[in-house]
Structure formats: C-alpha cells, structure tokens
C-alpha cells in the first residue's frame, strides 16, 4: 500500500464525504459551493491517475464555468432553505432504491469489478500515439484521429445548445414578465 494509494484513498473518501454532505444541505448555495470543492478534489484525483489535462480542464470547465451559472441562478432566485423531504417515500421509490443499491453492491464486489475490468480489455483501443510527450498531446492525437466523427458531432450539439439557450431565455412576445 504505497503512499500514492493512501493519498488517493483519502481523496476518494473526502470526495464521497463532500457528496454526502452536499446531498443533505438545506441551503442550495452551500450545496453548490460543496459541489465546487468536490470538483476540485476530483481534479486532484484525475491528476493522480495521470490524466493531467483532464484535471485542469475539469477545473476550467466544471468548477469555473458550469458552477458559475448555478451560483448565479441560485443567488438570484432568493430561494428559501428547503425542508428535506425524507418522510414521504412512495412504494415505487423504495423498490427502486433497493434495486439500485442491490445492483450497485453486485457491481462493487470482486466479481463485479473483475467483470468491469475485463469488459475494458475487449475494446480494440490503440496504444497512445505520442507516448513520451505531454498527456495533452496524446489525448489530442487519439481524439482527432480515432474519434473524428464524435468530435464533429459535439460541435453540432454545442450549436443546438447555444440556439436553445437563446430561444428559451428570450421573452415570448406579448408575455408580460418582470425580470
């Protein structure tokens, strides 16, 4: 159990603890701030998994862009702290939860993990194309050659998101509204 494993384990436990604490916060803004710290801890974990550019991109995109909009929306909708709804669980939800936890535990056992890891071996992925250069160049080399089509489709996805965001937030004509 080298030092790296211990540090990674501690960060994992910290991430799970932050997630748990986040799920039970009454004030949405503190929940969002906890999610930002969760994302920074995850960026550290990516760094330890040798995904250096993923760590920096995670902070720039998730913690630096997506959460800014969450914070904007939460701050400006002056939301009252919400009382948590634990009591009223419907039967369907109980069954769903048990089934979910059951599947999760099955996946978590040694057999499940073995299945997961073996599933990864089947894919015919190539070895990194620029092995000893920066991690960033490897990712780019694989992305722009093997995953060419999904990269182009991503641009259409973002285009749709841009047009959708503009259309949704424009005021519908003849609809009085205060903001």
């Amino acid at each position: 159990m080298g030092f790296q494993e211990i540090v990674f384990f501690v960060m994992g436990i910290l991430a799970v603890a932050l997630g748990g604490c986040l799920a039970t916060r009454r004030n949405p803004v503190s929940a969002a701030m906890l999610l930002i710290s969760l994302m920074v801890v995850l960026a550290g974990m990516y760094g330890m998994l040798d995904a250096h550019f993923a760590a920096v991109a995670q902070i720039i995109v998730y913690a630096g862009a997506i959460m800014v909009v969450f914070i904007f929306v939460m701050m400006l909708l002056n939301l009252p702290p919400e009382e948590l709804r634990f009591g009223t669980l419907t039967v369907g939800e109980i069954i769903l939860t048990i089934a979910g936890i059951g599947v999760a535990v099955a996946l978590g056992t040694k057999v499940g993990q073995g299945y997961l890891v073996s599933a990864l071996q089947l894919s015919e992925a190539r070895a990194p194309l620029l092995p000893e250069t920066e991690n960033l160049r490897n990712v780019a080399a694989t992305m722009f050659t093997d995953y060419l089509w999904s990269f182009e489709l991503i641009s259409f996805l973002i285009l749709a998101a841009v047009i959708g965001a503009v259309v949704i937030s424009k005021r519908r004509h003849g609809h009085a509204e205060s903001a």
Partner: protein
Amino acid sequence: MSASPSPYLPILFAVVAGLLVVGGATAASFLLGPKKPNDAKLDVYECGVPVVGTARQRLSVKFYLTAILFILFDIETVFLYLWASAFDFLGWFGVVEVGLFASTLLLGYVYILKRGALTWD
C-alpha cells in the same frame, strides 16, 4: 514517500501557505480590531438613504445568458487547446477538421448577434 513527488505537491503547499496568510490576516484583524457594534454601523450601507425593498429581487436575464453562453464557448476553447497542442502531429488534416468545428460554432455566434441576445438594455 512516492517514487517521484507528484507535480501537484507545490500546489498543495501553496494553497496551505496562502490559506495561512489569508486566514492569519483575517484572524489578526478579528482579534486586534475593536468590537463595538451598534445598529447604525451594522445597518446596510445605502449612502445614508433608508433602505428600499429587499436586497434579493430578481435581475435581468442578461446575466444568466452571458454565463450560459460562456460555458458553451469555454468548451470550445478547451477543445481548441487540445488541437493546438498537437498541431504539428495533426497537420493539415487537423486544421481542416477544427476549421469545421469552429465554423459550426461561428454559426451559433452569428445567430446570437442576429438575435440580439447580448445587447444590454
């Protein structure tokens, strides 16, 4: 200790040292500063004008839209950095490929300008 100290150790150390400096300054000011709160001082500062309305009304949608469009163009910047770092490996093929990517997003940007979504009132 681990084979080679990971490149993230200095960041951790800088964050801890920064927290010490920043926390120390706040604590020093909290401990050393006088503590005589009175209502006038604690009231909201509105240049002396009595406060009107609560502080948390809703504000114009422009702020949300700016931040939302920022996310989408930030994703584009991350993909462009990926391509720029492997520019010499990808050659002309990469330039054409990313050209398509960027021109599609340019369409979105032109749509925003035409629709006047970012004109501040």
